[in-house]
């Protein structure tokens, strides 16, 4: 419990302090320190869970499934704050944002981490909702940080669309609570996930069916599922790049985590009815549509950050599909994919941040010759995209291979759609990537100061996961798979 408190209090107190901290040079370092403490707490928590199996109490519940996302969240939080310190100071020194805005940025960065961690660790569906809505509120000011008309528009769109989506999710939560009241006598426990899960088979299937549709549309908006994805490319492309990295790498995962937890409840409730796999089929449908549409949209992008945000939608679609497919193999693959996608995508956004500083623009057609001007950035971008497109030996290949195998086993016809979708996405990424990396550099393009440590760390980990998944991690993911599907893989 102490570990959990440490993990949650560090970003809370850190965020409050950063809101007041005047010296800007210090703020970046302090932000990094707070993130490191959070990571320490998360690692401790993971160790405790590995030993005891589960930590529950005070309205929290940490098991193998969410603790792995907690560690991932804290880890990406650290590496992104390593990247963001010099990056945001550079932005600040060019006069694009004021000192006050930078303070807002740091404070909201920690507030966002806090909401993510609360959403992951809470056992209460209501608190989960509050935390995910809190994440929107924490990031919406960051999207409009540059105050350009585009940024303000993106932020407004993000605010309104996610506000609507999340309101529908609350309606679904209320319906779940309504169903729970006929099963669980104590009204205070009616939203507790573990209590609901134990008695999921008693929940009224009619009510749960309606509730799940609202919950899926609501949280699906935050996952970025097509057609509720409209906010995502705008918010990713207009906000500061460190924000794109954490939005893509963390927020989408946490929203998907919420969907999976709720699917477990609905599956329990519908098990005895005529449509036991309704939740899974819905997830598969939404997932496949998002996967295909986003892959096609990759081709017509002109903004580099927009392009990679469509790639995020594509991968979230794939994971949603896999969780919908169910079964231990698909679930294991989806969990692994969550991990490698977060690591790769945040590494890509970090690299893209440096590339846009180098070229002075986000327009793909004007980013040229990265390898010639600054090989570190060029090669990182190349390897990042190779990894995200699912080439061996990177980890994304492993997880996508597992997912394809699982699909082949249970729904062979969908494999065709998945493979062609992957090919389309690959083509979309590489037709833009090639000139950016290899093209002739414009005259006078100067290297910028870049810290490639986060990128190396992330891509190194993804490479390691592709070559051999360490035993402890495999056991860990396997335990999470066991929690979600009831059967273990290994």
């Amino acid at each position: 419990m102490t570990a959990l408190l440490l993990t949650l209090l560090a970003p809370l107190l850190g965020g409050l302090t950063l809101a007041l901290l005047r010296p800007l040079a210090l703020a970046g370092w302090f932000n990094l320190a707070v993130s490191l403490i959070t990571l320490g707490g998360a690692a401790w928590l993971a160790w405790l869970v590995a030993v005891s199996g589960m930590i529950a109490g005070m309205g929290f519940r940490v098991d193998a499934f969410n603790v792995y996302l907690v560690v991932l969240t804290a880890f990406v939080g650290v590496t992104t704050s390593i990247f963001s310190r010099p990056y945001m100071r550079h932005v600040c020194s060019t006069g694009k944002i004021s000192a006050g805005s930078l303070r807002v940025y740091h404070s909201m960065y920690q507030a966002f981490m806090l909401t993510m961690l609360v959403a992951l660790t809470t056992d209460n569906l209501g608190v989960l909702w509050v935390a995910i809505e809190g994440a929107t509120l924490a990031t919406v000011l960051l999207v409009s940080l540059y105050r350009t008309p585009e940024a303000v528009e993106a932020a407004w769109k993000y605010f309104i669309l996610c506000g609507v989506g999340i309101a529908l999710a609350l309606f679904g939560t209320v319906l779940t609570y309504f169903a729970a009241q006929h099963v669980i006598a104590d009204p205070a426990a009616g939203l507790t996930w573990s209590a609901l899960y134990e008695r999921a088979h008693e929940l009224n299937p009619t009510v749960m069916r309606i509730a799940f549709v609202f919950l899926l549309v609501g949280y699906g908006t935050k996952v970025g599922l097509v057609p509720m994805h409209q906010w995502l490319p705008d918010a990713h492309s207009e906000g500061p790049t460190p924000m794109s990295a954490v939005l893509s790498g963390l927020l989408l995962n946490v929203a998907l985590y919420a969907v999976v937890r709720l699917k477990m409840l609905v599956d329990g409730s519908l098990a005895e009815t005529a449509t036991p796999h309704l939740a899974g089929s819905l997830l598969m449908g939404f997932g496949l549509v998002s996967f295909t549409v986003a892959g096609l949209f990759l081709h017509r992008q002109r903004d580099i950050k927009r392009m990679f945000s469509y790639s995020s939608i594509e991968h979230m679609g794939l994971m949603t599909f896999a969780f919908g497919l169910g079964g231990s193999l698909a679930t294991f693959g989806a969990l692994l994919h969550m991990l490698v996608h977060s690591l790769t995508k945040s590494a890509i956004f970090v690299t893209v941040g440096h590339a846009t500083h180098l070229a002075g623009t986000q327009a793909i057609e004007r980013i040229r010759g990265l390898i010639r001007t600054q090989p570190a950035i060029g090669w990182s971008l190349l390897f990042g995209v190779v990894a995200i497109a699912g080439f061996p030996p990177f980890g994304v290949f492993t997880s996508e291979f597992l997912l394809l195998t699982a699909t082949m086993q249970s729904q062979p016809w969908f494999t065709v759609a998945l493979v062609s979708g992957l090919a389309v996405a690959f083509a979309g990424l590489f037709r833009h990537l090639h000139p950016m990396v290899y093209g002739a550099a414009p005259e006078g393009q100067q290297p910028v100061q870049a810290n490639m440590l986060p990128v190396l760390l992330h891509l190194g980990l993804v490479l390691w996961l592709g070559l051999s998944i360490p035993d402890f991690l495999a056991t860990w993911l396997d335990r999470a798979t066991g929690l979600i599907t009831g059967t273990r893989l290994l």
């Binding site: 209460n124 809505e133 540059y146 303000v152 209320v174 009204p187």
Partner: protein, 232 residues
Amino acid sequence: MSLTQLPVLQQFVLLLAALALFLSFVLLAQARLVAAIHAFAWQGVLVSAVTLVVALAGTAHHLYFSAALTLALKGLLIPWMLHRLVRRLSLSRHTETLRWPALVIMAAVLLVIFSYWLVEPMVAQDLAFTRNIVAVSLAVVLIGLLMMVFRQQAVAQVLGFMSMENGLFLAAVSATAGMPLVVELGVAFDVLVAMVLFGVFFFQIRESIDSLDVDRLNRLTEAVEITGERPG
């Protein structure tokens, strides 16, 4: 089971909820901003009154607190904040030209019917009261959504957002005798923070497009040529 057989207090709750739904229609079609804010405030008061009646009828004592919270937040604080913002943005006399008002109202009517259709399966469980209340609150939520889609004025969109929240509160209070206190406080906190941020955005939007007609925020589309330099 017909409505007249319900206990008097439940009938009263249904009456108040129906009035709240009526106010949603008023909000949807009210072109004057200040009048719309007043309608929204009255809706908040009605939701708070529903909470009070449910509290009187049942044993859940924290509902008294929640009624007071709703009244303070939805009936007084948020309308006051909106009022102040509208004055500071000098929009007090602003009237919005509604596009296709008759069509929008018809769409809202259809949404009410849809809500009843959606909760129809619940009738099998003999939940006449709950079925009505869930349908009415769902209709309030959906009409709020419709309002956010059809109104172009940022303040009107926020009113739609807030009336969605009213519908959610209505559902939580009357169908389930209130959410656990920690959730209710969390939701109230989120709504309050959202309102403050909306206020900030009104000024940012006006600064960037010189108006609060959100329709003119249309620079971000898929195939558009990128012109401006962006800092990345």
